[in-house]
């Protein structure tokens, strides 16, 4: 199983960070190997929202399914494994804390691939590494996007 636990400090208020987490359309920019995302129902995060993600894995495209398990605005977002797709287990938990004028993001990611989906010959070590790389990049990109300032 791939596991990542990180704490990230973002120089932006919680509402700015949450505004990005609340919009599934940012997912392809947050995760470098995610190509597109479809959500049901459409729109911002809501508990029960199902997400179908097309991701790149080497020269292949794969499908991953997740759903929103918990969403407390400007506080907590939890995603878990949905039905089918490349994950047998997935959990992403993000908790936000106000720190001065900024935001501390406590993040944990866990995932395990589905052998039924990928088959017996896939390198789990390789996929775990890709997953952890994407999780790290997610946080870096979340910080970068949150800290963007308007031109005027």
């Amino acid at each position: 199983m791939a596991k990542v636990n990180r704490v990230l400090v973002v120089t932006a208020p919680i509402k700015t960070v949450w505004a990005i987490l609340d919009e599934p359309r940012y997912i392809p920019k947050l995760y470098p190997d995610v190509l597109e995302i479809r959500v049901d129902p459409e729109g911002p995060v809501v508990v029960g929202q199902k997400r179908t993600i097309t991701a790149r894995m080497g020269t292949r495209s794969v499908e991953l399914h997740t759903k929103v398990a918990e969403a407390i605005p400007e506080k907590k977002l939890v995603l878990v494994q949905g039905e089918g797709g490349g994950f047998e287990h997935f959990r992403q938990e993000l908790v936000l804390y106000a720190v001065g004028g900024g935001t501390e993001v406590h993040a944990s990611f866990e995932s395990r691939i589905s052998r039924d989906y990928f088959g017996p010959n896939i390198s789990e070590v390789m996929i775990d590494r890709l997953t952890m790389d994407n999780a790290d990049r997610f946080l870096t990109n979340l910080k970068e996007l949150s800290e963007l300032r308007p031109l005027r």
Binding site: E36, R56, R60, S61, Y117, G119, I122, L151
Partner: protein, 161 residues
């Protein structure tokens, strides 16, 4: 006016390339520094569709306003600048040509930056370079995504690499 032109040979049928080219959700992946896009109407590219793109230039957020002005299915997409945003003028034309199951994609970008929009905040030389890098990489990214092969259908569990 700056022109950036590229031709790529893609190991995928025209339909696969067209699917990505006209899927507005791919815009943020095709242009490296695009952050988000909203399309009106939402969904696949249609004639008259208007885009509002947000991108990043260094630590600043910049905006682009575009419109689809020509659309020939499985062949040609032309997008032009609408008033406002980082471009004073902008045109993208991508033409797809079937080459016996493969695709030849010819893309031309013509643009001019709006110096008044950038003001004194953004370094013109830096922005020029960022824009050039994004547009230069576009065709190769389109090729890369078009050539991705889906993993075999769920349940077969065969041949994953």
């Amino acid at each position: 006016m700056t022109r950036i032109e590229s031709v790529v040979e893609i190991e995928a049928p025209v339909s696969a390339v067209w699917d990505i080219l006209t899927d507005t959700s791919y815009i943020v992946k095709l242009f490296r520094d695009a952050v988000s896009v909203t399309a009106d109407p939402p969904g696949r590219s249609v004639l008259g569709q208007k885009y509002h793109l947000t991108g990043k230039a260094g630590r600043r957020r910049v905006e682009f306003f575009l419109e689809v002005v020509e659309l020939v299915p499985q062949s040609t997409v032309v997008t032009r600048q609408r008033p406002g945003g980082l471009f004073k003028t902008f045109m993208q034309k991508t033409v797809l040509e079937d080459k016996a199951g493969r695709t030849r994609a010819h893309t031309v970008f013509d643009y001019e930056l709006a110096l008044g929009y950038m003001g004194k905040v953004l370094n013109v030389v830096l922005v020029e370079r960022l824009v050039r890098d994004n547009l230069t990489a576009y065709s190769h990214t389109l090729k890369e995504f078009s050539e991705l092969l889906p993993l075999p259908a769920e349940g077969t569990g065969k041949g994953a690499t």
